[in-house]
Amino acid sequence: MATEFHNLQELRHSASLANKVFIQRDYSEGTTCRFQTKFPSELESRIERTLFEDTVKTLNNFYAEAEKIGGQSYLEGCLACVTAYLIFLCMETRYEKVLKKIGKYIQEQNEKIYAPRGLLITDPIERGMRVIEISIYEDRGSSGSSSGSSSVSGSTAR
């Protein structure tokens, strides 16, 4: 894990940002949080379509789980109302728990799938849940910046 994280940092420091792609929200089902699964053309040469769609679909499922209105959320809401919503100060809400899971998932995806391809996904929560920002980094050398052999300063990776 430490090595992979090191690689992500190397990606940021040694590679130069070429472009950013923004996956917009899909409002066809209302205001619930969903992102479009349309494959952007800029990523065609960088990553397989299925991998990308899997990532977005999993994220959509996470958000749907967070915003689901069901028996449990009713109980939580009623309990919160009775206590004048003070339990929000003490408890971590369900949404926050799911957001943590999403953060871990995105980091895992970055380390395993996206960083080796010179891409980086930014957690949508850092962009106000409006877009999934995918940064495309230029390939610095033959094997890209994820190999441990490339030295710390990326200028030598030529």
Binding site: H6, Q9, S16, E67, E76, A84, E138
Partner: protein, 490 residues
């Protein structure tokens, strides 16, 4: 001078010289970025909207607190008078439950009021420069940005209905459905209901349930106090014995006052309570009823007033967000999971991103790639914008401010018609015009951050010098340009 050194570096040269210019900014391993000598700042300190933050970003309100102190004062005054003057009498003559019920209601009202006022209503953070540029690119195929284009809209299909999304020129993004830009707070708020001067904050997705609980419990409290006060006076006036009893009782409470005066005092305060409650009960009960209707039909005040779904257009437009079931509508509005705050008030600013950008800039001269330079310029701009200069540096800035005024009419009908907002309209008119308010907002926001000015300007200078100016000491042109910007802020 620094840049000249960079340009002279041969790509095959050993890496060590490139690292010497920034020894203490660029940590080689990059694992711990917090080795900045200056204290990292939190994001709320550079928040571009018109909000006030307390307790290091934990609490936020609109900058105009409106009549929030009056609301608090009235509640405390009325409840205080009730507990002091009515409760003792009623406890003796009726039941002990009365102060208990009153106490519970009072605490409920107070807590929900504070939560409504101090919670982030669902503010959407402004678009990053890259995002804004991406959207601009998608809209402007011609690439002509020399004049302000007409208001942009995008159509989406929600539950088989066509909804138009408007482009917000201040926040540089297409507003999600049900989002509106509050002209008083200069923020886009999700599921914008209205800006309430009584609570001194916008009411939106995140604090609507607090607001609803507040007005419902307040209507119960005022009705309860009204009933108790009426009972109190009725019991006192019922018989001579009641009055005599009161007279005899009074010396115990106010030993040094004449009896008649004491009775008048009690009556005076009771009359004050009665007056406040009488006028409040009708308006607050009315407001509660109105919002109950809105909750049951999953509407916002904004939509109701604009008549978005009432079929004004003549076609069969219905509310696409309604679940067609009152119970489900109520639950989805009041019992849905609490969404998170999107503005991350207490997060730290990426202050060392300036060093990182400089590290990336070292690569620039080695690649004759215009797009990268543009991207890096954009990144620098992004940095500078994150240091609270966004409205000034954005190219569409002059367009942004008038457009805020254009987007105001979206909100002003909501502000005008809502009974709870009569005061806001008057205040809005009394205040400097909201249209000009928008244009001065960055100044107002920034002048509140005196102690951070130098820090941010230093950061900005660092990035500019390292890759724009040809000479190392703060070059004339870009620095002058920047100096102008800072001059305008002073």
């Amino acid at each position: 001078m620094k840049s000249r050194e960079y340009q002279q570096i041969d790509p095959q040269a050993p890496p060590t010289p490139t690292q010497t210019p920034l020894p203490h900014h660029h940590q080689a391993d990059g694992v711990d970025r917090r080795k900045e000598p200056r204290t990292p700042r939190r994001k709320w300190e550079v928040f571009p909207g018109r909000n006030r933050f307390f307790c290091d970003g934990r609490i936020m309100m609109a900058r105009q607190s409106g009549v929030f102190p009056l609301t608090l004062g009235l509640i405390f005054l009325t409840s205080g008078l009730f507990f002091i003057f009515d409760c003792p009498f009623l406890v003796k003559h009726l039941t002990r439950c009365i102060p208990a019920i009153g106490g519970v209601l009072f605490v409920f009202v107070l807590i929900t009021l504070l939560q409504t006022s101090f919670t982030d209503p669902g503010i959407l953070p402004r678009a990053t420069p890259e995002e804004a540029a991406d959207i601009e690119r998608q809209i402007d195929d011609t690439g002509n940005t020399s004049y302000r284009p007409p208001p942009r809209t995008k159509e989406v299909l929600i539950n088989q209905q066509v909804i138009k999304l408007k482009y917000c020129f201040t926040c540089k993004m297409f507003r999600p459905p049900r989002t509106s830009h509050c002209s008083l707070c200069d923020n886009c708020v999700e599921r914008f209901d209205h800006h309430c001067p009584w609570v001194g904050n916008c009411v939106g997705k995140r604090n609507y349930r607090f607001f609803y609980t507040f007005i419902v419990s307040l209507s119960f409290l005022t009705a309860f106090i009204f009933g108790c006060v009426t009972t109190h006076l009725a019991l006192r006036a019922q018989g001579g014995k009641g009055l005599v009893f009161a007279l005899q009782e009074s010396p115990g409470r106010y030993p040094y006052m004449p009896n008649v005066f004491k009775l008048s005092l009690t009556h005076l305060f009771t009359a004050v309570e009665l007056a406040i409650c009488f006028f409040s009960v009708w308006s607050i009960l009315g407001l509660s009823g109105f919002h109950t209707y809105l909750v049951a039909s999953n509407l916002t005040t904004n939509e109701d007033i604009k008549g978005s779904w009432s079929g004004k257009t003549g076609e069969g437009v219905t509310n696409p967000y309604s679940h067609r079931n009152i119970f489900i509508n109520c639950c989805s509005v009041l019992c849905a999971p609490m969404p998170p705050s999107l503005i991350d008030r207490r997060g730290f600013l990426p202050a060392d991103e300036s060093a990182q950008t400089s590290g990336v800039d070292i690569e620039l001269p080695n690649l004759n790639n215009k797009s990268e330079i543009n991207v890096c310029t954009q990144e620098t701009k992004g940095l500078l914008e994150s240091a609270a200069l966004s409205p000034l540096l954005a190219t569409s800035c002059p367009q942004g401010k008038p457009q805020t005024a254009l987007s105001c009419p979206d909100n002003s009908p909501a502000l005008k018609s809502d009974p709870s907002l009569e005061l806001s309209q008057r205040r809005g008119q009394a205040h400097p015009n909201s249209k000009t308010y928008g244009s001065t907002s960055p100044l107002r926001t920034y002048t509140g951050l005196h102690k951070h000015k130098r820090a941010s300007s230093h950061t900005a200078r660092l990035t500019f010098d390292s890759h724009v100016s040809p000479d190392g000491d703060h070059g004339s042109k870009p620095k002058g340009h920047q100096g102008t910007k800072f001059a305008t802020l002073h």
